[in-house]
Amino acid sequence: MTRIRGTRVVDATYDLTVNGQTRQVTGAHAGDSLLHVLRDRLGLPGAKNACEQGECGSCSVLVDGVLVCACLELAEAAVGCAITTVEGLAPAGAEPGDAALAGDVLTDVQQAMVEAGGVQCGFCTPGFVVAIHDLLAREPQPAPLDVREALAGNLCRCTGYGRILTAVEQVVAVRSGDGGGP
């Protein structure tokens, strides 16, 4: 096949920019989703494989700052994009990829999820954490129904969502200076 000027043709070795770092992907099967590559090539299992159909949100990541399902992204087509996974979310003041992230430093969203009881089995949790971060970055003080609509793409089977919504409320309250909680 003729290589057209300016067209990138990708084979099974390519670079992805994940959490601020350039990572080389080798030996991947062409056609692998970004989810598969993150989990099985790059050692980033935070994004989860509950459905691989875009129906559950457990694989939610940010691609160029936009919330998407990693299972619906063709890995090779994400070359050149800035990918952020749950592992790369930075507590305020840190940059993605900071050494501080190895260890128990949590973002306020992560902290609230644990404190409010929004984590049971935890399989949906990374997806929710990413989706909540995305929501609050776009809408710092969302109305309750807007929160529900924004998180409607993240399924949870354990919690019934009550404690997750409480966690979001707590983060919003603290960020807006209302102190949050008794």
Partner: protein, 754 residues
């Protein structure tokens, strides 16, 4: 009485004792994405396993050639029934289910072979290459026809029948109401796929990391199928992404081990979602015919029930599920006379087994529908009718067993009813039936309120000698707990740390990773039993350790051990002595193991009579729904509940169990059903098996009724199942109230209402 809504349910920091809401010990890695679920596991040189499954609900296998699969580059091995060295079949109660189908397949999705290859896609191509020829046979799909039909299994088509005769079934009431009810097939739909990693040890044995509900039971079944002694098969708990009963049966465990032993390399298996829907048991669909007799004043006189559960192709835990359905068929009411005929049959439909609520969910829909029917017939308020007949301590159940523990049924009912009703829905799209679809006409929306009460057993029943073992070690102020409980999300790990901190007065608690090597069985994470049984084992072991510390301290102080007393909050108190147990232990090592047992139960006799249960748990639900009567679309607005919990050990976790269980109950009421047509599953995906999203979740108001259960450790009753039992029935009742439609089936579909 504890009203969780009035106490801020906010988790605290790490640490925390019984009654606090500390954060869970695995919470931090879970929010960071670092927690290793079984589907996240990797090993050097690992292969990927996949399973070939029958496309037919009933067929003879006339040919099976794995040669073409073996010829594909990257395929390491293929295994079939011929390669199973030990028992060809397995099962929770009777070993009736083949590891791989031999000459017959009996349900769509039945495993026929498994392959291991270097990439999941290679494995999939290998499956496509295996040449199987089937001779399709007519599938038996009507459960009511099953008993009289040609047996589809050597064990016959009746898995178990229970006839329960209580009192004098010829007695009649002034009033009789009848109804026929149906519950569709619900799925546990846990998010973490069936998955695990099998690693051969090079000496003919194998280690398996797996997401399951009972490590030791799995180990026994796997070892039997591999033809290995149990100690050569070591199971380790991989992180579990939810269970709800769907992981009680073996799924990929034997397959992965067979592949790993054949290939001599680690094998990882992780089901895709469509395979998951076929790869585990579902909730039994039920058809029920009921007759309720009552006096004019509203006292229940007699209940007749005919219950048919469709168990699908293999027995799983069906015989226990049908026994539950029979025992709880009358509901939490005083019923002097009853005639219950409950049968679970075998068909070529998908196999059914344990799901949260275990038979009580199905009969609750029927008996609560009947109570509403009766209330209408008698002109009595539905809540009043339930209060009038509500069980209390000391009452005799239809099995002849008397309730010896707590039974705050009336309190649950009153608590649920006492919560304020919600205001009318606002203008937001998501608040109205039809949601973002904008179909709603506010002038037409009708609101309805419905009520339901349910109950079931806690723990195992019918004479099963259930146990749990724990070992606790105290050293340098750190308590280490070894207990093989399968943490599936319910939060046992948190409870275990709270118990140790409370009884040993320490802050630092370490939980050993659960496996079959280092400690005995903790039993199943099911039947709402772990807080009681394994919490009880941890408690016993902690008390033994504390007692050892007391003796050691007494020797050091040169006093009699009786001079020192142990408090329930981990302190040693005596003349001039007031010290925490852990502090008193110092650098010395103290260790104890304990096994917790419950008091004996008995099987049911031929009239369904006996003392089959240890304890009972009750809950009431009130549902408020808004319905679009022209389109049949339903918005569940609010669920209020009063639940019998014995004692709240962790307020935030109890709230989580209540809210999560209610969401599953709502799902069964209005949207969840595995659609089976002639044995074929029509909707094995999250696209068409719909579980509630956050946009569908109702507001939940919960009151916990705390009457400590005498026999239970800390007086605490299990909280996982009660929220699922009557929430579905309450929503159905609310829909009836809103529409006037006689809803006799759940899930309620829009076309049932228009």
């Amino acid at each position: 009485m504890t009203d969780l809504q009035s106490r801020p349910v906010r988790g605290g920091p790490a640490g925390g004792r019984v009654g606090d809401s500390p954060i869970r010990p695995d919470g931090t890695p879970k929010v960071q994405g670092r927690f290793a679920f079984s589907s996240d596991l990797h090993a050097e040189g690992m292969l990927w396993g996949r399973t070939l499954r029958s496309p037919h609900p009933h067929a003879r296998i006339t040919g099976l050639d794995v040669g073409p699969a073996l010829a594909i580059a990257g395929v390491a091995c293929v295994v079939t029934a011929a390669d199973v060295p030990g028992a060809a079949t397995y099962g929770l109660i009777s070993a009736d289910q083949p590891v791989f189908a031999g000459d017959l397949v009996r349900y769509v999705g039945e495993p026929v072979a498994a392959v291991a290859a270097d990439h999941p896609d290679t494995a999939r191509q290998a499956l496509d290459a295996i040449a199987v020829s089937y001779e399709p046979l007519p599938p038996l799909t009507d459960p009511e026809a099953a008993p009289g039909a040609e047996p589809i299994h050597p064990d016959g088509n009746v898995i178990r029948r229970i006839e329960m005769v209580h009192g004098d079934p010829s007695v009649r009431g002034d009033v009789v109401v009848e109804g026929e009810y149906e519950v569709g097939m619900q799925d546990q739909a846990f998010l973490g796929p069936e998955s695990g990693l099998a690693v051969p040890d090079g000496e003919g044995g194998v280690d398996l990391w797996v997401a399951t509900q009972w490590l030791h039971e799995d180990r026994d079944q796997v070892a039997a199928c591999l033809g290995l002694p149990p100690e050569r098969v070591r199971l380790h708990l991989g992180g579990v992404g939810g269970a709800f009963g769907g992981r009680e049966d073996v799924s990929m465990q034997v397959h992965a081990c067979l592949l790993a032993l054949a290939a001599g390399r680690p094998v990882k298996m992780s089901y895709l979602r469509d395979e998951s829907f076929l790869g585990h048991v579902h909730r039994h669909p039920a058809r029920m015919r009921y007759r309720h007799h009552a006096t004019w004043q509203g006292d229940l006189v007699r209940v007749d029930a005919e219950i048919v559960l469709d168990g699908g192709a293999y027995a799983s835990s069906s015989s226990a599920v049908v026994a539950n359905a029979a025992r709880f068929a009358c509901g939490p009411y005083r019923v002097p006379h009853a005639l219950i005929d409950a049968v679970c049959v075998r068909t070529n439909n998908p196999p059914c087994g344990a799901m949260r609520g275990f038979g009580a969910v199905q009969v609750c829909f029927a008996h609560e529908s009947q109570m509403d029917r009766l209330a209408a017939r008698l002109g009595i308020d539905p809540v009043e009718l339930r209060l009038r007949n509500a069980l209390g301590p000391g009452d005799v159940l239809p099995t002849g067993q008397a309730i010896t523990g707590t039974a705050p049924v009336a309190e649950c009912i009153r608590a649920a009813a006492a919560h304020p009703l919600p205001p009318p829905a606002g203008d937001g799209l998501l608040e109205r039936p039809g949601g973002a679809g904008r179909t709603d006409d506010p002038g037409r929306t009708r609101r309805g309120v419905g009520f339901a009460v349910g109950y079931k057993n806690l723990l195992y029943s019918e004479g099963f000698d259930d146990t749990s073992e724990a070992r606790v070690r105290l050293e340098d102020g750190v308590a280490t707990v070894a207990c093989a409980v399968a943490e599936v999300g319910q939060g046992f790990v948190t409870i275990a740390t709270q118990i140790a901190r409370t009884l040993l007065g320490c802050d630092a608690v370490v939980l050993e990773p659960p496996d079959t090597l280092s400690v005995g069985s903790a039993g199943s994470s099911s039947a709402s039993r772990q807080t009681w049984m394994s919490g009880g084992a941890v408690e016993r072991a902690c008390r033994l350790v504390a007692d050892q510390v007391r003796s050691a301290l007494a020797r050091r102080l040169d006093v009699a051990p009786e001079a020192l007393s142990l408090t329930d909050d981990g302190r040693l108190v005596g003349p001039g002595i007031h010290v925490g147990v852990a502090e008193a232990a110092g650098a010395r090592v103290f260790e104890a193991s304990a096994v917790h047992r419950h008091r004996p139960t008995t099987p049911l006799d031929e009239r369904g009579q006996g003392t089959p249960d240890v304890s009972f748990v009750f809950a009431a639900h009130r549902a408020v729904v808004d319905v679009d009567p022209d389109l049949g679309l339903v918005r569940v607005v609010q669920i209020a509940t009063g639940q019998d919990v014995g004692r709240v050990l962790h307020p935030a976790q109890v709230t989580g169990q209540i809210e999560g269980g209610i969401a599953q109950g709502v799902g069964l009421a209005v949207m969840e059903e595995i659609v089976v047509d002639d044995g074929l599953v029509r909707n094995p995906s999250f696209t068409d098996y719909l579980i509630p999203t956050v946009a569908d979740a109702p507001d939940v108001l919960a009151t916990c009724i705390e009457q400590p259960e005498p026999d239970a450790p800390f007086g605490a009753k299990g909280v996982g199942e009660p929220p699922t039992i009557s929430s579905t029935a309450a929503v159905a009742a609310a829909i009836r109230a809103a529409t006037g439609v006689d809803v006799t089936r759940v899930p309620v579909r829009p076309w049932d209402l228009v």
